[in-house]
Amino acid sequence: MPTATTDSPVRTALRTGPVTPRRRARSGRGAAGRSRAERLAPYVLVAPAALIIAVFRLYPLGLGVNFSFTGDGDRNGQAVGLDNYAALFEDPLFLASMKNVGLLVLLLPVAVAIPGLLATFIYLRVPGHRVYRSVYFFPAVLSPVIIGAIFNLLLAFDGPANALLGTVGLGPVDWLGDPDIAMYAVVGVHIWATFGMALVVFLAGFATLDASLIDAARVDGASLPRVVRHVIVPGLSRTIQFVVVTTMIGMLTSMFGLLYVMTGGGPEGSTYLPEYYIWFQQGQMGRPALASAASTVLFCVMLVVGLAQIAVLRRAGRED
């Protein structure tokens, strides 16, 4: 333990003998006067958490990056330089998954605007606002696996969604079987399932907003869009930033369950995301080193996206 070496003989002498409460109280004037056990206490309290985080979260990150420069199969353990990364960017599946990341980035404003707008309405006390909050949030607590299973039923080719479309004369859509549509269907379900989460965060942000500003704008006869644009958005810049970053992280890292249940990456690999690709290469294809390279790329993508968004929002906030 780090402090064990910084003992002075005087303090050690003070510590001998049973420590009664009264003695402790007298000697406990400052950190220096405490017993050894007392000075070690913070480290003992932190140790389990620190060890688990270090061993199972921080260390694997380094290990994985290292691992991505070694080979799979016959070349197991050998250094192969950038071969895995080269293989990655020649793999159509991985390229498809990166293309889908681009799609997610494009859809991000939608995924943030919907809960933002709904939260605004709830904040402005739309009739029934109390109910909406708990109803909207509900799907956010369900497992993606359960949501995926339910939407498998709803979006089946001969399922209710198409039956509904049929009644208004629109042809059946192969929601999960058409490579041009499947990804949108899955992202749509993801947004449906998670907008309540962002909504609750927005509402918490609204609670910190100065209500008198909005009242003043109302008295001045400002229209709703103007109130949103000039009062609410600037006042919530921090919350918006938080929602943008967490929504993006959510899109990049919590769609595995949906993909696994709804499409399995298909049709024709059109619904691959990096996380699904990593799992596929590691678990199904037995190519852990290649999967590690994909992990490293995903990590970089997340860093870049996160930092870029924060930078953009900072600038937007300053202009206001």
Partner: protein, 275 residues
């Protein structure tokens, strides 16, 4: 003023529609589970002819859901207990005790918060395999604990920093050691935060499928969510039973949500306003 009021009523319409769209998929699934296969094929939307629980019973018995449920309860219970214990210990130390390296430890914890599981899953699976922890309860419990510990420590630290230092000092003068302060003061005072973070962690662990798929490959150790993923192949021709199985798996979360809605919302929003 008037425009705003009119706007409010106008907004209420799409909002109500959205609320229906949010609830309907679940209602639809429940309705399907009450139907016979024949009824379902004839008309998907019509209300079931009566309350039939056959589909639930069939799914429960033939899909081995009891075993999956037990596995989930063991793993989630173990992970949440460890998370609350280690998270509150570390949160107390990081917020109320001064010691060398506390800032660095806190920052390391914060950094770990931003490492997604997908990024470390390959080396983690390998390390777990070498340690003989794959396909064991302790292995999955440890993986969940590691996954959600940064978040738990972060929340407990910010909650405990709101407790005045005078309370800790007073307890010290009364002769409590740091451990005594933790056990007698911090644990009881932290109850609201522990409840909130505990429920949230239970949800996260319960809902996970990726970590469980990776670390619990054998059929007998499947968690409930992994079990649900295999339902579809099993009952592709028997949609009502499939729907029943899905609903059984959703039920515990439904109950948890109805009881602890406020705590869940508190946990989700923590950290959003403070940045």
């Amino acid at each position: 003023m008037n425009a705003l009021r009119a706007g409010r009523w106008l907004a209420a319409i799409p909002m109500a529609a959205l609320a229906i769209a949010t609830v309907y998929p679940l209602v639809f699934t429940a309705n399907v589970a009450m139907k016979t296969r024949h009824e379902y094929v004839l008309d998907r939307f019509a209300p079931a002819e009566g309350l039939r629980w056959d589909a639930f019973a069939t799914a429960w018995a033939s899909a081995d859901m009891g075993r999956y449920l037990a596995n989930s309860l063991i793993v989630v219970g173990g992970a949440v207990a460890l998370l609350l214990l280690f998270g509150s210990m570390a949160g107390f130390a990081l917020s109320q005790l001064r010691f060398r390296g506390s800032r660095a430890l806190y920052l390391a914890c914060l950094a770990a918060l931003f490492i997604p599981f997908q990024v470390i899953m390959v080396p983690l699976a390998r390390t777990m395999g070498q340690a003989g922890l794959v396909d064991t309860y302790p292995g999955l419990i440890l993986a969940y604990t590691a996954q959600f510990l940064p978040f738990t420590v972060f929340l407990m630290t910010s909650y405990y920093s709101g407790i005045p230092a005078e309370i800790v000092d007073a307890a010290r003068i009364d002769g409590n050691s740091a451990y005594g302060v933790y056990g007698r003061i911090m644990l009881p005072l932290g109850r609201p935060a522990l409840l909130s973070v505990g429920i949230l962690n239970a949800l996260f662990c319960w809902n996970d499928v990726l970590i469980a798929l990776l670390l619990m490959p054998s059929a007998e150790h499947r968690t409930l969510m992994v079990g649900v993923t295999s339902l579809r192949g099993q009952y592709s021709a028997d949609i009502p039973t499939f729907a029943g199985g899905v609903l059984i798996a959703a039920l515990p979360v439904l109950v948890l949500y109805l009881c602890f809605q406020r705590q869940i919302a508190t946990g989700v929003t923590a950290g959003s306003t403070k940045g």
